[in-house]
């Protein structure tokens, strides 16, 4: 098997050959699955009807297989995938409906470039049967299943019926289309609350709501049908029993056009927010070999029932007693496919291309291993402190993937300087780590997250790091309700215990001292050092500092002294400092390079990777520690004393103004000046990245003024409504 480091999409990994890739494998491989592809000719040129990381991912494999690639892009989207591909065609303006979903333009691009096959990636046209049909009509191969399977599985109602017939366990519910909100209420009452309302054509958590009572059903119906209409152009909804506290476990299947179907083990995707996956892993800690086999076999039965070919995923909900229910089948490559690739050693994209060309599967079911453990974290440009993640936009002013670490794979479609905008999914990358055991993979994930440098957009690394180190997650005690259960008050960042707090304070103080020393480093040309720059060297001999560090509302007294008198400038200042914090002693050693965003320190003998986000003359320092950002202010003792005379800054009263929590478009404004709103009443709805977010009042008040209108684009922090 192979750990697919070579598939990482950053540019410097591009030239990895297959053999090179394999040198990263820490264990001997048990079989060779793709030694044959070089002799089996597939396509000369493939068009990838997608963008971002998945387009890059597909191009990667095409390059390995010697296939020419064509990228399509909108006019604002010239990211990495465009640069990686051999050819690129612009298919329209920024909105996806006019570019990546624009079938006419994409058909033109195919004609123009002479591509023989199309890989649709995920999302967009990947499960669009009309697109597959149009391709077939012009003799271009769709790298995916037949239109029949797409149609059968794409419709949640039909798929459930087929699954039932194929003897796959299914969830009790209503197997028809719900027409009106009142219909929905009636059906919900019949099934019994809680119920799940979801778009028939849906996927990816869009157009999905849970309702616990009649009123929520009505509201859910309204939102879901709106979202479904805007995301899929199809507002049909269905309702089923909502299984409380389930796990989300899915089986990857691979089927060729000759009736051979394999199951490639499971992926555990229970960590979700708003029904969107955040952390995935393979295998699952929860499944025993028997359950796994039964689930795998049922997945194969379903695939066979629809004469499935290509890679597909059968999603199950698994309750605490290991009863599992069929949820849906995704007839495409999944976002989280890398974890399966890691533990099985298969390149799923390569398999899809081979299958599309008509080749038979080369593996037998008994050839499919579970080697080690793989974990994937979805790194998003979003603010995890707002309902576990509201989209944020911006320009990646600094961006470094942690690729220097071993056993790390990063699938991304962006680079330093890229823009994350409101038009597309805010995913930055998929960070995958691998280990012989789960503990090893988790430890590597922790390291990788600490070493990941992202500047310019707010990102969810604080949340990811908390999840993967949380005792419940580590022990495997998870469900799809993990986030709301663990953080009932919402995510608040890492909570520092006494030792960690001391470490943070010591690091910040040491950073301050280092930069003070650095400020004295005014150089002269050889001869005129003293004459022209006239620097007195006296303060450089300072060995002790008395500081005061402010963290939150608290002030901490700190004494620092140099331990050992040797410090050298190389790439930075090598300095070891003894720090006395609140009576405790901390030793901080480091190679202090103030130009680097990463701050590798040894604190009391333990290696810690901190990041410095900003350091101002005023003593304010922002450090990333344990994944979370902490604002501290380091002042000398004297300065701190004098600072206590400074007046406090009065902050704005936020209860009477409503600002947009994210960039997006105003789709509905429910109030007008003079209206009285109740606490919790909806004021307006903002759509961002295809998600509708209802903004509510936090107190009862009269509306003073309204500053935006439906259809208007607003930025994060823009004033929407003022209350009295």
């Amino acid at each position: 098997w192979t750990f697919l480091t070579g598939v990482s999409v950053t540019m410097h990994a591009c030239t990895h050959t297959h053999t090179l890739t394999r040198t990263h494998a820490p264990h001997t491989h048990t079989h060779c699955s793709y030694g044959l592809f070089s002799s089996s000719q597939t396509f000369d040129k493939i068009l990838i009807a997608n963008r971002g990381e998945i387009a890059c991912r597909v191009i990667k494999t095409c390059k390995k297989m010697g296939i020419q690639t064509v990228a399509v892009h909108s006019d604002v989207d010239s990211n990495v995938h465009v640069k990686m591909a051999d050819e690129a065609v612009c298919v329209g303006p920024a909105p996806t409906s006019k570019s990546y979903l624009n079938m006419d333009a994409i058909m033109d691009a195919i004609r123009l470039t002479g591509a023989q096959a199309v890989h649709p990636g995920y999302g967009f046209l990947s499960e669009n049967k009309d697109f597959a049909k149009r391709l077939a009509a012009v003799g271009v191969t769709f790298i995916g299943p037949d239109t029949h399977a797409i149609q059968a599985m794409g419709d949640k109602i039909e798929s459930k019926l087929i699954a039932k017939a194929a003897k796959v366990n299914t969830i009790p519910g209503f197997d028809g289309v719900v027409k009106t909100a009142e219909d929905a209420v009636k059906i919900a009452q019949q099934i019994g609350y809680p119920v799940m309302i979801k778009a028939s054509a849906g996927g990816g958590g869009k157009g999905m709501r849970i309702a616990w009572n009649d009123e929520e059903t009505r509201e859910g119906f309204r939102f879901s049908s709106q979202e479904a209409a805007s995301s899929f152009g199809d507002d049909r909804l269905l309702i089923e029993k909502y299984i409380d506290n389930p796990r989300h476990i899915e089986i990857q299947v691979l089927a060729d056009k000759h009736g051979n179907v394999l199951w490639l083990n499971e992926r555990e995707c229970s960590i979700q927010r708003r029904n969107q996956k955040v952390v995935e892993e393979a295998p699952s800690m929860f499944l025993d070999a028997d359950t796994r086999r039964v689930m795998g076999e049922q997945a194969v039965q379903l695939a066979k029932a629809v004469k499935y070919s290509s890679a597909g995923t059968v999603e199950f909900l698994v309750d605490s007693k290991k009863n599992f229910y069929f949820l849906e089948m995704n007839t495409r490559l999944q976002v989280e496919h890398p974890v399966t690739e890691c533990i099985t050693g298969l390149d799923l994209v390569e398999q899809m291309i081979r299958i599309a060309k008509g080749y038979q599967l080369q593996q037998k079911q008994e050839d499919i291993p579970i080697n080690g453990w793989a974990i994937e974290s979805r790194v998003y440009a979003e603010d995890p402190f707002k309902s576990f993640g509201l989209p944020s936009i911006g320009r990646l002013s600094q961006y470094q993937e942690p690729l220097k670490l071993s056993h790390v794979r990063v699938d991304s479609g962006i680079e330093e300087g890229s823009d994350i905008n409101i038009y597309y999914d805010p995913m930055i990358s998929k960070l995958v780590t691998y280990g012989a055991t789960r503990a090893e993979a988790l430890a590597r994930m922790e390291d990788a997250l600490d070493n990941y440098v992202i500047r310019g957009v707010t990102h969810n690394i604080p949340l990811l790091r908390e999840i993967i180190t949380h005792p419940r997650f580590v022990s495997g005690d998870i469900s799809t309700n993990f986030l709301p259960e663990v953080y009932p008050e919402g995510f608040k960042g890492h909570h520092l215990d006494e030792d960690r707090c001391r470490e943070l304070l010591a690091s910040a103080a040491a950073l301050h001292v280092t930069s003070q020393l650095y400020s004295h480093k005014i150089l002269g040309t050889q001869s005129d050092l003293m004459l022209c720059y006239r620097v007195s060297s006296a303060p450089m001999d300072q060995n002790n500092w008395e500081l005061c560090v402010e963290l939150g509302q608290e002030l901490h007294d700190i004494e620092i002294s140099k331990s050992g008198n040797s410090y050298i400038f190389m790439n930075g200042l090598c300095l070891s400092l003894q720090v006395k914090v609140d009576g405790g002693q901390v030793e901080v050693c480091g190679d202090w390079n103030l130009a680097s965003p990463l701050l590798p320190l040894t604190i009391n003998g333990t290696c810690r990777m901190l990041q410095c986000l900003s350091k101002e003359s005023s003593g304010n320092i922002v450090l990333q520690y344990m994944g979370t950002l902490f604002k501290v202010r380091v002042l000398s003792k004297l300065t701190a004393k004098l600072n206590s005379y400074m007046p406090e800054k009065v902050s704005e009263d936020t209860s009477s103004i409503l600002r947009s929590p994210m960039p997006g478009t105003v789709v509905a404004m429910s109030v007008k000046p003079g209206d009285t709103v109740a606490d919790g009443q909806e004021i307006c709805v903002i759509e961002a990245m295809k998600m509708q977010n209802s903004l509510t009042a936090v107190k009862q008040a009269k509306v003073k003024s309204v500053h935006c209108q439906p259809g208007e684009t607003v930025g994060e922090g823009d004033l929407l409504v003022e209350l009295e």
Binding site: R395, G417, S519, K521, S537, N571, L594, L638, P647
Partner: protein
């Protein structure tokens, strides 16, 4: 060697005192009395206007003169002068002992900031509201004269109600003295004084005006508050009098310490070089995508500036005034540089009266203090309109042109996108003796935008779209300038930092002398 503070000194004096007392009690009475008086005066000087007034100062959220000095300078580096000076006024009861304060209403001396020499005066609001007496003015002039002879800067921390009214004309003479020192130190030993070169002020507590709100009301019948008339916001955003505002004393002084490190000690010293940990050959990949495809779309010039500089450390001057031009200090491979950049995010980055004056003043500052200038150009032209023409845009725009042309420090220019018309000339172009002028592949050096140009050339004719495409093809790229040698090279944006650092190394020995004249005649 001169680092002994007043406090340790007095401690020694105390020791001496007790020894002498026990040993030679009988004849040293008068001697002891002098010691005692010295001690007493020193103590009194430390207390300024007394504990009550110090507390009042603190309650206003302000620090005392001495606290400010202590915060500004390296620990234990302050050497005070004229602690015993007292005012000489004898009118209105001022001669009484209770109205005499050792040191009067200003603290003066020298010290070090990050090891570098600086002279400092700090007005003491606790003594007669920091008002300026003859003695006060004399103290300031003394350190200024000294700073002049050794070539060191002066930092003034002003907190004063104005002239001391009891003294009448003497205090006004003091003002004249101070202002006489100031201009004379500019061309020669260039001291840095907040009053003359850079002015920093504080939000909510700094007020600066020629006449206060009451006088304004009685003369022009305008209703205006202190803050509106001469507050920090007014002077940093509207009038352009102040260069930067800070939240409070502590913040301002901490920033001032860091800022000081950018500047040479005098106009005869080279700009300082600090040890640099940021690799000079660092490729800045993000610059390759910073300029948007559509030439009408804005981007933030600060993204470019921050990405290119050492550690992204940029001390912006006048950040809230004439925001269509960005100016400030930074380092490249450790060398201090002045940055000038058009800001496409604000008014498309066009030049208008305010931005021209802001830029010109900054360029001249850099030239006066041997600081190389790096200019980032994305300018669509001068702002049209009657307001600008009546305001004298021709005269003010010429200031910026004059400043760049006159500057003899190393000048490096990078055209990131638009460089149209006269504004292109003004922005440190090759024609103004730019040393190294670069264009990014996105650069468009032309007389004006394609659309406007075609409308003039083909007025009233059809096929304008075609002509526009032709114009774009011909001029909306760096080639027309490059083939004529108006830019020295077309460079990949990612290599910008590397190129600048390398050029600065070479240009460090640049020597250029302007023809002799009594002084240049900038179009004021």
């Amino acid at each position: 060697p001169f680092c002994a503070l007043t406090r340790p000194l007095s401690a020694i004096a105390c020791l001496l005192q007790t020894n002498i007392q026990s040993d030679c009690r009988w004849y040293s009475v008068s001697h002891l009395s002098v010691k005692e008086r010295i001690e007493k005066k020193r103590k009194a000087a430390q207390m300024g206007g007394g504990q009550k007034r110090i507390d009042a100062q603190h309650q206003r959220g302000k620090l005392t003169a001495r606290e400010r000095v202590e915060l500004l300078l390296d620990p234990e580096s302050f050497v005070e002068t004229d602690m015993f000076v007292e005012h000489r006024c004898s009118d209105f009861g001022m001669e009484q002992d209770a109205n005499k304060f050792p040191g009067d209403s200003v603290v003066t001396g020298r010290g070090r900031i990050n090891g570098r020499l600086v002279y400092v005066f700090s007005q003491d609001f606790t003594v007669f509201g920091g008002s300026l007496s003859g003695a006060h003015a004399q103290k300031i002039c003394k350190i200024m004269d000294q700073a002049l002879t050794v070539g060191a800067p002066v930092i003034g921390l002003n907190d004063s109600g104005g002239a001391r009214i009891q003294e009448g004309v003497e205090s006004l003479a003091g003002y004249a003295d101070i202002f006489l020192v100031h201009p004379s130190d500019l061309p020669h030993h260039g001291s840095l004084c907040i009053l003359t070169h850079l002015m920093l002020c504080l939000q909510d507590t700094s007020y600066l005006f020629i006449t206060g709100p009451d006088v304004v009301k009685s003369v022009t019948n305008e209703d205006v508050t202190q803050e509106e008339l001469g507050g920090a916001k007014t002077h940093t955003a509207v009038s352009g009098v102040a260069h930067r505002a800070f939240e409070n004393d502590v913040e301002a002084l901490l920033y001032l310490r860091d800022f000081f490190n950018f500047l040479p000690l005098s106009n005869q010293d080279p700009a300082p070089i600090r040890e640099c940990q940021d690799p000079s050959d660092r490729l800045v990949k993000s610059l390759d995508t910073v300029v948007p495809f559509e030439s009408t779309k804005a981007y933030d010039m600060l993204d470019i500036i921050h990405a290119v500089l050492d550690e992204g450390d940029f001390f912006e001057i006048m950040p809230t005034y004439a925001k269509n031009i960005v100016v400030g200090f930074a380092r490249m491979n450790g060398r201090t540089v002045g940055i000038v950049g058009n800001q496409p995010k604000v008014a498309s980055g066009c030049l208008d009266i305010n931005s021209s004056v802001k830029g010109a003043r900054f360029v001249r500052f850099c030239d006066a203090f041997n600081i190389p200038i790096i200019t980032f150009v994305d300018v669509p032209g001068f702002l049209p309109g009657t307001a600008q023409e009546y305001g004298g845009i021709i005269r003010h725009g010429a200031k910026l042109l004059f400043a760049f042309a006159e500057a003899t420090v190393p000048k490096i220019t990078i055209i990131t996108r638009k460089a149209y018309g006269g504004a292109y000339d003004v922005m440190s172009s090759k024609h103004l003796r730019g040393d190294m002028n670069y264009a990014w592949p996105t650069a468009e050096v032309a007389v004006m935008g394609a659309k406007g140009a075609v409308q003039i050339i083909f007025r009233g004719k059809e096929n304008q779209a075609e002509a526009e495409a032709e114009y774009v093809e011909k001029f909306a790229n760096p080639f027309p300038a490059a083939v004529r040698g108006f830019v020295d090279d077309i460079i990949e944006p990612a290599t910008t930092r590397k190129r600048i650092c390398r050029d600065l190394e070479v240009l460090a020995s640049k020597k250029q002398v302007n023809p002799w004249k009594k002084h240049a005649n900038i179009p004021l």
